[in-house]
C-alpha cells in the first residue's frame, strides 16, 4: 500500500474519462452519464478506501509515527536548489484526504443522477476527477511548489467547472473571475515561496516550519501565505468570486465551493501554524479578517433570493469562522469546523440541487414553497443540515462552532469584540438559514402551476448521498474531543444556542406564511456594493490603464517615435534624391567640382606644410 494510490486513482479516472470524451467527439457517439459516472465514482471510492486504510494505520499510534513520506521523483534540481516531487501523509493531510475522497465520492455518485441529461458527462466527470486529483496533491504535497501545483490545479478545475456550460457567456465570465481572483492570491503564494527560499534555503514544508527566521521575515512570510489563502478561501478582500461561482452545476458547488477547495486556505494556515504563532500581528489580522468576513457575508446572505447564492454567502461566512479559529490560535477547532462544515454544507448544497432539479432549474426561493410534502427525503436531510449549521446540539455544527466561539473569547489571542461579532454572526446565520428552510419547504407554495405538477423526489442515486451526509452531519461532532473546558464555556454554549434558537424562531414566525416576493434591500442584495466597487475600480481600472498605456505610450510615444524615425529616413532619402537628376553630365560636373575642391584642399595642406617646415 502506498500513499501514491490516493492520488493516483482520481488521475486514472480523469484520464479514462478524458480519453473517452475525446474519442466520443471524434466518433460522434454519446456517452451515458451512468457509465462515466461509475468510473469516476469508483476511482474516488478506491481512493477513499486507501485513505481509510491509513486512518486505521495511524489510529492509536504515537504522533511521531504518524508521518509517511513518499519520494516519487526528483523534480527540479538546479545549483543549490533541489526539489523532490514527494507526497507526505500526516494526521492533518489524512483528515483532509478523508474529507475530499469521502465527500467527493458521495458527490460523484450524486452527479450521476444530476447530470443525467447532460450532453457530455464524460467531460464533466473527468473535470471532477481532475479536481480531486489536484486537491489531493494540495493536501499531500510535501513542499510548497507541490502544494502550489495542487493550489493552481484546483483553481483550474474550478474554472473549468464553473464555466462548464460554456454557451452561456455569463457563466464563462464567472469562471474567469474566479480564476483571476484566485491568481491574485496566488501571487502571494509565489512570493511567499521566494521569501522562504531566500531565508530558509528550502521549500520543504517541514523545514520551513522548523526554521528560525527573524520575526520580520516570519511576519512577511505568513502574511503573504495568508493573502494567498484569502483568495482561495474567499475571504475579504478576495471573496466576491464565490457567489458568482454558483454558475456551475450544483454538485460542483457542493464539492469545490463548499466542502473542499475553499477550505484549502484553512489547511495551509494549519500547515504553517508553528510560524503563525511567532507572528501575533498576522494572527490578529487573520482573526479580524475572518470574523469581519463572517459577519458581512451573513448580512448579505439575509437579503439573497437565489437559493445557491444564500448557501454561497453562508459558506463565506462559515469560512470566516474557520479563519477566526486560526486567528485566535485554535487551529484544531478550525480544522474540526472544516470537517463538520464539509458534511452539512455539502448536504445543503446537494439538497438545494435536488430542489433545483425537481423544479427544472428554478433557483429563486420566492418561487418555491411547500416542498416538504413532495420532496420528503430532501426535506428531512435538509433539516438535519439546517440544525447542524445553527449549532443545535447534538448536531455536528454545534461542537465545532461552539468551540470556535468559546476560543474567540478564551484563547490568549481572543477578545470580547471578536466574541461579540462571532455571536452576532451566529444569530444572523440562524436567521437566514431558517428563512431559506421555511421559504423553500414549509411556507405556502408560490410555484408556477406547470412547474408544480412535475415536482418529484430525486432518484435514489441522488438521495442516497443526502442520507449519508445527513447521518454524518448528525454524528460528525463526536469525532473530536475538545480538551480543557473553561469555567465559562458552558455559559457561552448556552448563550449561543439560545441566540440561534431565538433568531430561528423569529425567522420562522416571519416567513411561515409568506406568499409574495420579499422586498429586499438592493444594496445588501448586491453584496454591499463591494462587487460593484471591484468591478468599477479594478475591472475598469485595468481596462482604463491598458487603453491609456496603448493610447499614450504605445501609440503616442513608441509608434509615433518609430513613425518619426522612418519618416526621417525617408526624408533624408528624398533630400539626397534631388541630387540624383539622372543626367550624366550633371554627375560629371559634380565629380569635377568635388575633385577640384579636393585637390585644392590637398594642395593647400601641402603649401601650408611647405610654408612652415619647407626651408
Amino acid at each position: 500500500m502506498s500513499i501514491l494510490l490516493i492520488v493516483l486513482f482520481p488521475l486514472i479516472g480523469f484520464l479514462i474519462n478524458g480519453i473517452r470524451y475525446i474519442i466520443s467527439t471524434k466518433k460522434g457517439t454519446k456517452i451515458s452519464s451512468q457509465q462515466s459516472g461509475m468510473i469516476a465514482t469508483f476511482a474516488m471510492v478506491l481512493s477513499f478506501l486507501v485513505s481509510v486504510y491509513y486512518y486505521f494505520q495511524f489510529n492509536g499510534q504515537s504522533n511521531e509515527v504518524k508521518l509517511i513520506d513518499q519520494n516519487l521523483f526528483s523534480w527540479i534540481k538546479i545549483g543549490a536548489f533541489h526539489l523532490d516531487f514527494a507526497l507526505r501523509l500526516d494526521p492533518l493531510s489524512l483528515l483532509f484526504s478523508l474529507i475530499i475522497t469521502g465527500v467527493g465520492s458521495l458527490i460523484h455518485l450524486y452527479s450521476i443522477g444530476y447530470m443525467k441529461e447532460d450532453a457530455s458527462p464524460a467531460k464533466y466527470f473527468s473535470y471532477l476527477n481532475l479536481f480531486c486529483f489536484m486537491m489531493l496533491n494540495l493536501v499531500l504535497g510535501s513542499s510548497m511548489p507541490h502544494v502550489f501545483l495542487g493550489w493552481e490545479g484546483v483553481g483550474l478545475a474550478s474554472y473549468l467547472l464553473i464555466g462548464y456550460w460554456n454557451l452561456d457567456v455569463e457563466k464563462v465570465m464567472a469562471g474567469q473571475k474566479a480564476f483571476v481572483m484566485n491568481r491574485i492570491g496566488d501571487l502571494g503564494f509565489l512570493i511567499a515561496m521566494f521569501v522562504a527560499y531566500k531565508y530558509v534555503g528550502s521549500l520543504d514544508l517541514i523545514e520551513i516550519q522548523k526554521s528560525t527566521m527573524s520575526p520580520f521575515v516570519v511576519t512577511v512570510f505568513t502574511g503573504l501565505v495568508f493573502f494567498a489563502c484569502t483568495g482561495k478561501s474567499a475571504q475579504i478582500p478576495l471573496f466576491t468570486w464565490l457567489p458568482d461561482a454558483m454558475a456551475g452545476p450544483t454538485p460542483v458547488s457542493a464539492l469545490i465551493h463548499a466542502a473542499t477547495m475553499v477550505t484549502s486556505g484553512v489547511y495551509l494556515l494549519n500547515r504553517i501554524s508553528p510560524l503563525l504563532i511567532q507572528a501575533p500581528q498576522v494572527l490578529s489580522v487573520i482573526a479580524i479578517v475572518g470574523v469581519t468576513t463572517a459577519f458581512i457575508a451573513a448580512i448579505i446572505a439575509c437579503a439573497q433570493k437565489d437559493i445557491k447564492k444564500i448557501l454561497a454567502y453562508s459558506t463565506i461566512s462559515q469560512l470566516g469562522f474557520m479563519f477566526l479559529a486560526c486567528g485566535v490560535g485554535a487551529f484544531d477547532a478550525g480544522v474540526f469546523h472544516v470537517m463538520t462544515h464539509a458534511f452539512f454544507k455539502a448536504l445543503m448544497f446537494l439538497g438545494a440541487g435536488s430542489v433545483i432539479h425537481a423544479l427544472h432549474e428554478e433557483q429563486n426561493i420566492f418561487k418555491m414553497g411547500g416542498l416538504s410534502k413532495k420532496l420528503p427525503i430532501t426535506t428531512i436531510t435538509f433539516v438535519v443540515g439546517w440544525a447542524a449549521i445553527l449549532g443545535i446540539p447534538p448536531f455536528s455544527g454545534f461542537f465545532s462552532k461552539d468551540e470556535i466561539i468559546i476560543e474567540s473569547l478564551n484563547s490568549p489571542y481572543g477578545n470580547q469584540v471578536l466574541f461579540a461579532m462571532a455571536l452576532l454572526t451566529a444569530l444572523l446565520t440562524a436567521f437566514y438559514m431558517t428563512r431559506l428552510l421555511v421559504l423553500v419547504f414549509f411556507s405556502p407554495s408560490r410555484m408556477d402551476k406547470d412547474v408544480e405538477e412535475h415536482v418529484h423526489e430525486s432518484p435514489l442515486v441522488m438521495t442516497f448521498p443526502l442520507i449519508v451526509l445527513a447521518v454524518l452531519s448528525l454524528i460528525g461532532g463526536f469525532w473530536h474531543h475538545s480538551e480543557g473546558a473553561h469555567e465559562n464555556s458552558q455559559m457561552i454554549m448556552i448563550t449561543s444556542v439560545a441566540v440561534a434558537i431565538l433568531s430561528a424562531g423569529f425567522s420562522f414566525y416571519r416567513y411561515r406564511k409568506f406568499d409574495s416576493e420579499e422586498q429586499t434591500n438592493n444594496f445588501i442584495e448586491n453584496g454591499l456594493g463591494i462587487n460593484n466597487f471591484y468591478n468599477n475600480f479594478f475591472g475598469k481600472g485595468v481596462t482604463i490603464v491598458s487603453k491609456g498605456l496603448f493610447r499614450w505610450i504605445e501609440a503616442g510615444i513608441i509608434q509615433n517615435g518609430l513613425k518619426f524615425c522612418t519618416w526621417a529616413v525617408e526624408f533624408s532619402g528624398n533630400v539626397l534624391k534631388s541630387f540624383q537628376v539622372g543626367s550624366v553630365q550633371v554627375y560629371l560636373m559634380m565629380m569635377v567640382l568635388l575633385g577640384l575642391s579636393l585637390m585644392i584642399w590637398v594642395l593647400q595642406g601641402v603649401m601650408h606644410g611647405v610654408l612652415i617646415y619647407g626651408k
Partner: protein
Amino acid sequence: MNDPWLMLIVSCTVFVIGLIGVIFRKNLLVVLMSIELMLNAVNLSFVAFSKIHHVLDGQINALFVMTVAAAESAVGLGLVIAMFRTLKTADSDQIQMLRD
C-alpha cells in the same frame, strides 16, 4: 615649339576645353568630339612628359591611347546612332534614363 612646358600648357587648355564641352554641350555628337579632345590632350601631355624625361614610354602610351580612342569613338558613334534611332533625339537633356 621646343619647350615641352608649352606643350603641357596647350594640353591642359585643350583638356579643359574638352571637359567643358562634355559637361555643357547638349548634342551627343559634340560630347563625343569633346571626349576625343580630352583624349588628345592627354596624348599631348604623354608626349610632352616623354620629351622632358627622355623616356619613350610616354610616346608608346600615346600610340595605345590613339588606337583605343579610335575604337572608342567607333563604339561611341554606334551607340549614339542606336540611341538616335530608338529615342529620335541626340539631345542629352532628353536622355535621362539613369533615374527611375
